[in-house]
């Protein structure tokens, strides 16, 4: 970390900063510039509290961190990409691009199984579906809860698809983990630290959605919460960020794909459905995601979008999905991936 002193600072103020640094276990190195004095602090700490503490000193202008605040999820610590094994040869983070598809919310078993069969036959490897739904309005459909999880399990039996479903609080983690192959953390819960810790203490893979206004560093810090408890199986999922655009609900940050690949060893997938909120954008965004190097896709497919209890406008029909898959496969192929 580098401490920038205010202009025209007294020697005793510099001494005070150096004293503080020594207390915290850092070595201080002064650089006397033309306009400013800066102090380089050498040490191995991760606690942001130290930086904050130094910033309170009256003659310190700012403290600039040099190293990223995350460690275990960083590419520096682990060079090889993490491969997350969902069983039966389905690996997220390998050469194959894994497509997860299904309805926003689980509504009834018949529809779910019908969609599951169709997306499986088009090439999806994982079935998505929400049983616990975090909704902005208390008056919206909140999900079928355990009943929904049971339906997901039956669709898995029927199709061989793995299942991914959301968990909305730490209390429900054991219940959801009893059914799901991958536990999803929604964008609004990205910084629900109790939930992240609980997911770190179990071993099922976690799909961690990026918060609507989160930076990539904050997202990686959220992953660090899970990993620091012992669970390294974290799949990052970009699902659109909030911007000023009004033609779509969210804006896909496609550069999150190469950025995560530079800064972290964790696999990263894209949710083109929430990224736009518009069915007609899903094909373009899916193609772009694969071309940019995504390890997978999470796509909403509903047998009858008009009747969906949530997020109908962004759902593909099974037929749309079947037409899209071969297009995506071709792009994967020219990018040296498989799907």
């Amino acid at each position: 970390m580098v401490i920038v002193m205010k202009p025209n600072v007294a020697e005793k103020d510099i001494a005070k900063v150096e004293e503080k640094l020594a207390e915290f276990g850092y070595q201080a190195h002064q650089i006397r510039g033309v306009g400013r004095i800066v102090i380089g602090a050498v040490g191995d700490k991760k606690d942001k509290g130290v930086m904050a503490s130094l910033e309170t000193l009256p003659q310190v202008e700012k403290v600039v961190p040099i190293m990223s605040p995350y460690k275990l999820v960083s590419r520096i610590v682990k060079k090889e990409k993490t491969r997350i094994d969902l069983g039966d040869g389905i690996i997220v983070g390998g050469e194959e691009i894994i497509v997860m598809a299904g309805p926003c919310a689980v509504e009834n078993e018949k529809n779910l199984c019908e969609v599951a069969e169709k997306v499986a036959s088009a090439g999806a490897k994982v079935l998505r579906g929400g049983a616990f739904k975090p909704r902005t309005s208390p008056y919206s459909f909140q999900g079928l809860e355990e009943k929904g999880l049971k339906m997901m399990a039956r669709a898995r039996e029927l199709t061989g698809l793995k299942i991914v479903t959301e968990v909305v609080n730490s209390h429900d983690v054991p219940l959801v983990a009893a059914y799901a192959d991958v536990l999803q953390v929604g964008a609004r819960n990205m910084q629900n630290f109790s939930l992240l810790r609980a997911l770190g203490k179990q071993h099922k893979p976690v799909l961690l959605k990026r918060g609507l206004a989160a930076t990539i560093e904050e997202w990686l810090m959220a992953a660090e919460y899970i990993v620091s408890e012992g669970n390294y199986n974290v799949i990052l999922c970009e699902r659109g960020i909030r911007t000023f655009e009004r033609y779509t609900r969210n804006t896909l940050d496609v550069s999150a794909i190469p950025l995560v690949n530079i800064y972290s060893h964790l696999p990263v997938i894209i949710d083109p459905s929430h990224s736009s909120g518009e069915r007609q954008l899903v094909p373009s965004l899916s193609r772009a995601a694969i071309a940019a190097g995504a390890d997978g896709l999470l796509i909403e497919v509903h047998s009858n979008p008009e009747l969906a209890l949530c997020d109908g406008p962004q759902s593909l029909t099974p037929q749309d999905f079947s037409l899209l898959m071969p297009e995506l496969r071709q792009i994967a192929y020219v990018c040296n991936r498989r799907m």
Copy 2:
């Protein structure tokens, strides 16, 4: 709600929308414009699912909501400002502006009581302090938990101040409610719907912070979650939003004060400390908040900001606080408020 059809739509598509509206229990009114046909839907529903469902129809361009999605927290439903009685004559939402002050995190009893006595003598009515701390980094100080709550309770005994403290998940609600006079929901938990429901099911007042990137409508919807479970005692707290500015951590949205006062009957207070992250901005922002009509302030005060385990840079010293209070009182006075 108003349904805007795509240009050059066929009569049968219009009929389909009207049929759907009838199914959902709405009456349809067509307006045939020069470039577009729009259909006004008259009904009393709040479920956003209906809007979403209509948007999936192939010939519908967009659906425009007419009424706000919240109801119980709206000024239309209740004209008089809600007064939240914390006991001993301390009322949030009345003529008096209530100042809540104290450290970011509870660190030890001696410091806490010392700060509590000082802020009380300067005119604060409520002591703030975190026992459960949601931190961006898993390696930062996470709070003293129940031990911290006990220290808060002792500071209350000593000073007569009421206490406000954060609760970070639904599981801890009973524990925190056993100690606190007001339960705080942090910005990162504004859409933690399990937590909001749990807080709605108990009767202690709730201080609901606005999310970093939340619109005022989303914030009111979060309050609606609490109120719809039966607890009307919600204090809204603006604590700065995320913007592109890099000189401060967050940006105070001072217009949230008049906007909440227009759209809702709930009281609204300001946290000038988190709103900037900079101690030297706290006086200006506190003055601005009162001048704009805030019902209270939540200010970080630490006896020794340099040693604070969190958020030192934004904490006032007790002395700074004592100097600020008379300035604020003068502004309150010319704005026909008391403090």
Copy 3:
């Protein structure tokens, strides 16, 4: 447009709105809902002033526009994609994806011609290079002005590449148009309406960059300024928007590609260099852009990025560029495009 009245409005207030609408030449259609009365206004006006005027009426809550404020650039008015002919068979908006490449700023003739030859031989069709540079700091390099334009012209002679270069104010339009094949409007000038009008009054194609915080509607409105003066040859260029991300300078909005394709007939290209500000992201973002359906790319290439007088960190070397082009060609091919 739809006028939403405040709750519990008097009949005379409704009458006043209807009277106003009649004055402005609209027909009024009332819809009496459960909670609100809304008035549909039927007419053919584009002036936002009418909406603003209605919103000032004391009993009007809001006015919701139904039709987009742009007209000539809209897909509704013109169904076929606009093809912009740069001469010699180079067409932007056709089946071929057009790559424009070159340095951020023109620095000297030797380097420029060297880069030009290399990008031409790799398959670029247009040479980019700035002679007038709008820089955030008055102390940064401001461009070679006409001398730079002359160097561009010589590079064109030498290579057959067309040239695109920025114009920063209306006064310079004739000068730049005398040399350039395409005139570029920078992001900071997207709403420099004098400049837009001047460009609309000449006939050379215009490359209009999207503003850093502009919505797609505002961008299309800026294009409408040019087109409404008579010049239909406008190429839209997405160059990254400002977001909260700190790992990159800007964030590529890849969904701008399908959105422009839905709402407008104008071709749309991507600048992957400014979109990230990071050379190592340029290949991923270029691939994504083509997969999403872009009509072209604008890529910074500098023979020696370390010595570049501006934007070195985002420039590819000619060698990087030569390696990237065949990858892009493969994606173009599977997306049924040529390059």
Copy 4:
């Protein structure tokens, strides 16, 4: 500036950076940390090009600036607040808070003079009014141009008010300067560098509005453009930034007031009308601005907002304005200012 090297960098890469720094005229100071090597560069340059150039080196991770990029507008260079004398004892940046009021656009002489007389008698010292209007839509009213300037001049004669009016391109600067006492740069032109330079080359005071998505540093850099040409008379004007909020057009950044006061010696005023776009928020925001330490206000007042050709919804009536002024005066008074 501080150069952060990538992890595990070779000695020769460090040597290369140091060699580059020497070329650019900097002295290098190495700090060898636990995880990284950083190099402090000591020198007196302002050119961002140097930073960019260093960032292109393959083993450099990032370059962190230590000093702000502006100089002449900085508080470090000039400690005393700049007082801008408009003549007749009207000084912006002194003890008195200067209120500028008037219509968005000049429409006709009778209305303008009527409003001018009313705002003058309520205490305004400057008349605002647009003769050249930059409008988002080419189909909106674009201003009366020189005819409008003449009307402004006549209103000045009649009332003794000074006049402030917008100039939209460098070509019009002499014309507008011939009439106006203060030349306004609109938010969309904040980075129209040709315009800024032209304003720097004449001596009339300039009112520089902050861009909708500009940081305070960018705003100060825009002011630096004007000042670096020789004109020190720059008044900064915060007019609301773009945020995600949909209840208002823009969001007032009230913290811009203390921030400008910390970083710069230039006076700062607030435009509460554009900051919200809503007449009913203007009183709260005006009060907040004065309480936060603003040097002035720029308020839209129109004799008949319903008939305004632009921005009616945010205009106060002369009567609203007369009622607001005494309230503001009281706040100014308790903040030790005059108005």
